[in-house]
Symmetry: C2
Subunit: 460 residues, 2 copies
């Protein structure tokens, strides 16, 4: 970063919004991966015009730009792996601009925190369903850029299902709008659709218009205990095809159950092969009861040893405790967690879990699994000792085979974490040369000088 | 079309699948616009490999390719306005390939007729919601290419909300897959998302994987009669913000009501300013009753003169009769119908309808309106005498002002018909030069030689 660049950014934004000191470089070098890359500077744009001027300058001068949310990503999407300036939105561009009660729409800036939006709309009787595990700190801009999912995806879908319109700045500084505050809009190419999940490689999102829905009045939680993973996985997809769509249908395998029990002593069934935790919701208690009856029937038909319905919110929180705490608890199995968010069609879950077991045995690694089975998304955690070089190597070999198995079963490398840096080496397992060439052409159409978060997602 | 091209296509596909005679050119020269353009040939690919070989050849030899569904489009998307070969899928690539009961997914070829799919899945207790008015003959390939909507969009969304994955052939003949049979998939750019609604300009879709849902067990219909359009439009968006999401909330204005009554004598309230017809559905009769109670309350609060709930399917069909037949009936107002599918945020409907009335008076034209107000989509029909040159001219001037008003209200030129040829002259009203330049860059990234349905959507 030469002095001319530093002067430009400082003049444009003021000293309080453009930082090139070591402390800021360290503060913005991380995300939820173990990787660290210091950027050359950290910029806090005050508005869309700042973003436009920054991008125009960077495009003309070959400065790399890394748009960044909360830095909570699991795949390095926000890391400045090739230097450049980080654009951070948490200081100025972090507001809820509007909640439109007439059209059930919210308009937010990219730095708005997911939970702040959820809280604001729920006070008004409305509901913004996407709830990534990072919801307390991750930003809507980051959620859109990675197309974040969450627990409630089984019924309510993911971030992309709620984005109605975007404003964005292109690499050359052009400000564009995409989409409308309408359910239907078929004029022009679906630019919003391709900006979502593009991990900051195609444009910088500056405003997001989101669909809201009415908040369901009632919610209930149930838990099923299964002898085997296989039984549980069969119960998942059979519940859905029986016509019930639970809000969430979450899963813990035996390793995850044991880890939670060991740490928290909650009286979990440590001999069970798996547990499933399901939430149902709606505006009529009767419809919830009907749903729970069907779930119980399907669970029993698929070998459930036990089935519990929470009587109140406290009991519900208790049932959810195991799921919410297993990510932490399973660190007992290894000091390095290689966690992947592979996703398969729900009916392939039994085969996928078999395959993971087989591959883990082959490479001598321990792989607790849990996650969002209601939408086919399994958090697969290969746990290794980070000091044991050979085990780490075997861990990565296992991961590669798990990816291969996932793709063979019609699944995807990533259900919700994105590709970023971490999964870039595996893109060839899922995409043909022709498909990768198309991605490269699209990247070039948006960003011919390759300044926007370059070399992510396996792009060259 | 020179003899070399004709020989290539004939050798590749056989004489039965490659036609260059006048009869075929005439048979494939039309769509639902009044425009006619004869293609240079009509090809019936037998499979994806045929499509790939055709496109590779056309790309290398500068032959234009027009993918075509049923030719039921309203904006000329399937017209060979610049010559070239039409790719028609109704002969071979028209099948339902799979209905996957475990994952609630259907896989179809592009030439599959929408209603054939609906019927097939409903027999199995499942439901494919997108129901464009052309559903009896339009194809899923066409529906995806135009991102078709329909009556049920207010609750169930539109075609894009059901497309999970596509296979497609790019201009250079490359065969690609995009998306997965999973709810979550965030690996790579959202290619399926940009192919949807791209009107055959970016690739030729060869296989479509669609999400299905469980068929709701109950449905009920209600009708509200309003003194004024304004009252009715207020009732629409207030119903939604009261937490009810009707399957459909359809609207007829006074001109439409009178036209239907004059033709069919059904006892409709010819003095009413507007009627609203609403369907609600669900798996519990109690929930439908609750929804109808709220709708009735909102309608009454907004000046409804009358509110009727259909007792059975026959009464429901009666209430729907007016809506289903108004497109035909309003031809009494003029021999040429300039019909547009503008869409605004629901809360802007009262203002939009006011504006349409004002503009119609200014230009001395009659403009009956009806349509899918539940999602903000109004079918606006400027009716003129096609022999009266001056009136036709005034009609088009009115259309342009209506488009301007729509965009000013935050709406879109097209809710479901697409841009094609007909709306291309108006793209500048809705999109900036920067946005049009981005569209052109994307087109070039997919189709550098501009062979795929060129010069549609306002592209140069």
């Amino acid at each position: 970063m030469n002095q001319t660049h530093i002067d430009f950014f400082t003049n444009l934004l003021g000293k309080d919004n453009a930082y090139f000191d070591k402390a800021h470089k360290i503060a913005y070098c991380y995300d939820a991966t173990k990787k660290r890359y210091e950027p050359d500077g950290v910029l806090f744009p005050r508005d869309e015009n700042d973003v436009s001027k920054i991008l125009k300058y960077c495009n003309e001068n070959g400065v790399i730009v890394i748009p960044r949310g909360a830095g909570s990503g699991f795949t390095g999407g926000a890391l400045a792996a090739n230097g450049g300036v980080v654009l951070a939105f948490e200081k100025h561009m972090n507001k809820i601009l509007e909640i439109d009660l007439q059209n059930l729409v919210a308009v937010v800036q990219p730095g708005c925190i997911n939970m702040d939006l959820q809280n604001a709309v729920e006070k008004l009787g409305l509901f913004y369903p996407p709830d990534p595990a990072s919801q307390n700190y991750s930003t809507i801009g980051g959620n859109v850029s990675e197309n974040a999912g969450g627990m409630r995806a089984a019924k309510y879908g993911i971030t992309k299902d709620y984005v109605m319109a975007l404003r964005a700045v292109l690499a050359n500084g052009d400000i564009i709008k995409a989409g409308k505050r309408t359910i239907k809009d078929v004029a022009g190419y679906n630019i919003a659709g391709i900006l979502i999940a593009s991990e900051g490689t195609l444009g910088v999102i500056t405003e997001i218009t989101l669909k809201l829905i009415a908040k369901p009045k009632f919610k209930k939680t149930a838990m099923g205990v299964f002898k085997s993973v296989d039984d549980a996985m069969n119960a998942v997809y059979k519940t859905m095809s029986a016509g019930v769509t639970p809000v969430a249908m979450e899963f813990l395998d035996n390793l995850s159950i044991k880890a939670v029990e060991e740490k928290y002593h909650k009286g979990l069934p440590v001999d069970a092969g798996a547990i499933l935790i399901a939430d149902v919701d709606g505006n009529l208690e009767l419809s919830l009861e009907q749903d729970l009856e069907i779930i119980q029937k399907v669970f029993k038909e698929n070998g459930a040893l036990d089935f519990v319905i929470a009587k109140d919110e406290e009991e519900s929180a208790n049932l959810w405790f195991a799921r919410r705490n297993c990510s932490q608890a399973i660190t007992c199995y290894g000091s390095l967690k290689l966690n992947e968010d592979i996703t398969v069609p729900r009916s392939k879950l039994p085969k996928l879990l078999d395959k993971i077991k087989e591959i883990s045995a082959k490479f001598g690694v321990t792989t607790p699994c849990f996650g969002h089975t209601g939408d086919g998304n399994v958090h697969t955690n290969v746990m290794v000792d980070k000091e044991n070089e050979d085990e780490v190597k075997r861990g990565y070999e296992a991961i590669e085979e798990i990816f291969k198995a996932t793709v063979e079963l019609g699944g995807t490398l990533s259900g919700e974490h994105g590709i970023g840096l971490s999964k870039a080496p595996y893109m060839h397992l899922a995409f043909s040369d022709e498909e990768m060439a198309l991605f490269a052409n699209i990247k070039k159409a948006f960003d011919p000088n390759n300044i926007l978060n370059p070399f992510k997602m396996g792009l060259k």
